[in-house]
Symmetry: C2
Subunit: 125 residues, 2 copies
């Protein structure tokens, strides 16, 4: 049912090649240079699509803006309160134990683990 669109392609290509967890505005600003006719609404619309298809995962950063990640393998995040960067944290061996924690409450099909603090780059600053 979904038809091809050039815009969807370039947005997804952008995400795949930028592992920096960009937010919608950043994706828009960057792609706008190459595709001046691109609309911000199109970025939002396609991000929603990717999310529904589970081609990306959403990181709800602490300031309320959503960031996007094409790495759908299990991993965690670290948000630096100084630079705002979001880092990847590899999932540990005991990640299976983590995913079982919610069993008593319901059927969890995903979880998000975000650390908040100051990254190494910003500590010496």
């Amino acid at each position: 049912m979904a038809k091809y669109s050039k815009q969807r392609e370039i947005i997804y290509e952008y995400l795949k090649s930028h592992r920096t967890h960009p937010e919608a505005e950043k994706i828009f600003a960057d792609l706008k240079q190459e595709y001046p006719s691109l609309s911000l609404a199109t970025v939002y619309r396609n991000l929603k699509m990717f999310e529904a298809e589970m081609k990306v995962l959403v990181i709800n950063s602490s300031d309320g803006t959503a960031c996007y990640d094409t790495n759908t393998n299990l991993h965690y995040h670290f948000e630096c309160s100084k630079c705002g960067r979001i880092y990847d944290i590899p999932a540990p061996e005991f990640s299976e134990s983590i995913s079982e924690l919610a069993a008593s409450v319901g059927r969890a099909d995903a979880y998000s683990l975000i650390f908040y603090g100051v990254c190494n780059k910003c500590i010496n600053k």
Copy 2:
């Protein structure tokens, strides 16, 4: 430096007696009945204060609205995609291992673990 205010007191009392992780609008709507002069801005202002004092913790729910929790003991959350309720998940014995995961990236002073799925109440519905 911070002065007493009746509003701050009732907002905090409300939070302590409502372990349902309410959001600002809900707190406001409920308290407004008893204190008709209460302003929504005051609710937001005081929630920020509590957050800065670490008297409450913030849960960034998936729809972008912030929810507040006076339980500052380490624990996790489960957000039901059907009813929207947020449940508490007790921290496990290995929670110390979880908190060490971020050490390679920086100094984490907090982390948030949220499960997404359908709660038991909503599964049979």
